[in-house]
């Protein structure tokens, strides 16, 4: 192995301050590549046969996609400090896809949510505690809703389960078996299609999500936390972001070491560095996501703290999060199928 580490990360994850700090601390050079979606990361790694990178940042639920083709190496838990990861997150990740057949492959790095963003001027009544996924499907919202196709069907499933219209064990049935998955998706999609007129824009990335509100005229929708927070902070304070009462959609991004990694030691060094409170704080300030490192919150700046309290006004907001479970093959395929059905309705 050499004195470099090939990091394949989300575009905004490893910014210069982190990179410099790591290089200074360890003397290992970071060779950074970036991607913009899980699909891209996954498929690039797959096409490369698991080679070429030493650290990668998959979302925890996409783990199974990697396991199938043996793209990741198992984590040696003795080589990094398990206690540096917030224990509850570390534990939760087990079920969400971080382990496979008894071995751990993914180490939580950060987490975030996808929840409600809305225009508090045109909808002054909406607020934390009462706001619901269902608000997007009300009849007075025609053409004003911005959503991501892939997640909106899930949030709708949670909502419909909550109001008892489509029972799905808080959407967990989607992952249970192909038949259950199909049943729930079918019902949810039909519900959505009936109200398709509400959709003003679909988005797939932050650029589109922002534009959906600024250019496409949407006034409510489901966005990533960063989008909502930046809309509020940079564009207009009327934009608010918070958790709906059914619980926000929570995601965890992790760090993994591809099976073809040639710099395993350096990879662990990098992982360990990312989990230091200082790096975690830097990370959160850089990106607006929440670090999974213990004590990272000590290093947050004010803006980030303010944003956090807007998004998660109380502990319940976090406790109530709905975490994306590990993906199964049928889930991926069926979700695509119903997304297409909804999109093309």
């Amino acid at each position: 192995s050499s004195g470099t580490v090939n990091v394949f990360a989300w575009g905004d994850y490893v910014q210069d301050n982190i990179k410099d700090a790591f290089e200074k601390a360890t003397g290992i050079k970071v060779n950074l590549s970036t991607y913009g979606s899980n699909d891209e990361a996954e498929n690039k790694l797959r096409a490369a046969g698991g080679k070429g990178f030493d650290v990668i940042f998959p979302s925890v639920d996409t783990g199974p996609n990697y396991y199938k083709d043996d793209l990741l190496g198992a984590i040696d838990e003795s080589k990094f400090n398990v206690d540096k990861v917030i224990p509850s997150i570390y534990r939760a990740s087990i079920n969400l896809g971080a382990t496979n057949r008894g071995k751990r492959y993914l180490i939580p790095c950060d987490w975030g949510t996808e929840a409600m963003t809305w225009d508090s001027e045109t909808s002054p009544d909406l607020k934390y505690g009462t706001i619901s996924y269902g608000d997007m499907w009300k009849s007075d919202m025609a053409g004003k809703v911005a959503v991501r196709q892939k997640s909106v069907l899930v949030s709708l499933a949670i909502y419909l389960d909550d109001i008892g219209e489509v029972k799905s064990d808080r959407a967990m049935d989607l992952y249970k078996s192909e038949d259950d998955c199909r049943r729930v998706f079918e019902a949810v999609t039909n519900y959505a299609i009936e109200r398709r007129g509400n959709i003003g824009a679909f988005w797939n990335n932050a650029t589109e999500a922002t534009a959906a509100f600024t250019d496409a005229g949407c006034s409510i929708g489901q966005t990533w936390d960063t989008t909502g927070i930046l809309l509020n902070r940079e564009t207009n304070p009327k934009w608010r972001y918070t958790m709906p009462k059914e619980g926000g959609l929570g995601w965890i991004d992790t760090m993994a070491i591809p099976s073809g990694s040639e710099n395993v030691d350096q990879a662990y060094a990098f992982v360990n560095f990312m989990l230091t409170p200082e790096a975690g704080g830097m990370f959160a300030n850089n990106t607006g996501y929440n670090s999974a490192a213990v004590d990272a919150d000590q290093h947050l700046n004010d803006a980030q703290k303010a944003a956090f309290s807007m998004a998660y006004p109380d502990a319940a907001a976090i406790d109530n999060l709905w975490w994306w479970p590990a993906q199964t093959d049928f889930f991926g395929a069926l979700r695509t199928e119903y997304v297409e059905k909804f999109t093309n309705a």
């Binding site: 498929n43 199964t328 979700r335 997304v339 093309n344």
Partner: protein, 344 residues
């Protein structure tokens, strides 16, 4: 080979043949064969059983994790529980078969009704884009080739090329900014009083497929203009004058003289535009924000990258390729254009 060798000698001709062969085999055929091979099999496995095993493993992992923090007293009980589950796992794993690779045409045949509809719609849309591009570009090609002075023609050409200095993503994004509900065009209309953005009364350009058409025509203008220009440039101006002298009005001159002459160029332009639009991913993806329906290329993309079904994706892609090639031959038949004319 002999004909080639006579002019260029053995060494050079050999180099040409070698390079072409390397390109043909190493860069086109063999890589494509890999893909076609992929489209011909599926992986069969018993998902439900594997899921169950995975679930049990996760249970074990959880128990192990909890055991670390548990009181020492509880540990034996947990260990018992774990070993119980592990037995069950062993039992199930014995039943689990390795996934099997089965050769089949099912990737081709299993296209759902929806996908088929999208496919057909894409072909229709691509054809519409092609026709639109033709209508938009023909007058330009004609003007540059036949009407403008050579100097003016050079600058017009330059004007045509400049938009290609920027990346396709940006070009499309710019169109999005223009056509959006609160975009440049609607803002302008608001300003002259046609729409009222404050009251959310705007013209929803993006909701119609026309928005995609506008951006796509924009993106592929060059591919239509150049071939037509190239053929029209060779049209003897005397023919136009002869037609006029014989009393024909402008439209008839075009219909009877210029367009027939430009046919090979039109065919080539149409073929290229059709191909590119049928295979375009970023334009519909960015332009519509999903609100006006998918194009088939998006479906292919999702098969590959969201459904994780490369095999089906390869089959879809191959289908598209075949249909496009059929389209080419159809165009060549309709326009009576030979394979060779495409290069003109």
């Amino acid at each position: 080979m002999k004909a080639l060798a006579r002019t260029y000698g053995r060494t050079l001709s050999g180099t040409f043949v070698f390079l072409t062969a390397a390109w043909l085999l190493g860069m086109i055929v063999i890589p494509q064969l890999f893909m076609i091979e992929r489209s011909l099999w599926v992986r069969q496995e018993s998902t439900q059983l594997s899921l169950e095993i995975d679930r049990l493993y996760n249970e074990v992992s959880l128990l192990r994790f909890d055991a670390q923090g548990a009181a020492d007293a509880d540990k034996p009980a947990i260990e018992d529980k774990i070993s119980g589950i592990e037995e069950r796992i062993a039992e199930l794993e014995a039943q689990e078969k390795a996934p099997q690779k089965v050769y089949t045409l099912s990737n081709y045949t299993r296209m759902s009704g929806l996908h088929f509809r999208i496919f057909v719609r894409t072909i229709v849309y691509a054809a519409m884009v092609t026709v639109l591009a033709l209508v938009v570009c023909y007058p330009i090609a004609f003007a540059v080739a036949q009407v403008a002075t050579p100097q003016a023609a050079a600058f017009l050409m330059l004007g045509l090329i400049i938009p290609y200095a920027i990346n396709e993503l940006l070009r499309v994004y710019a169109w999005l900014m223009i056509l959006d509900y609160q975009g440049v065009l609607n803002t302008f209309l608001d300003w002259i009083g046609v729409t009222n953005l404050a009251a959310k009364q705007w013209i929803p350009f993006l909701e119609s497929p026309a928005a995609v058409f506008v951006a796509m025509v924009y993106t592929y203008i060059l591919f239509m203009v150049f071939p037509i220009y190239n053929t029209l440039e060779t049209l003897d101006r005397n023919q136009l004058e002869a037609a006029r002298d014989l009393g024909a009005p402008s439209w008839r001159i075009h219909w009877r003289v210029a367009i027939p002459h430009a046919k090979p160029g039109i065919a080539v332009g149409c073929i290229m535009t059709f191909m590119l639009s049928a295979g375009s991913y970023s334009v519909p993806q960015i332009m519509t924000r999903g609100t006006s329906g998918d194009w088939f290329s998006q479906t292919i993309y999702r098969q590959f990258f969201e459904s994780n079904n490369w095999n089906a994706g390869a089959a879809y892609a191959f289908t598209l390729l075949v249909v496009c090639i059929v389209f080419i031959f159809l165009m060549m038949l309709v326009f009576r254009v030979g394979v060779r004319d495409i290069a003109r």
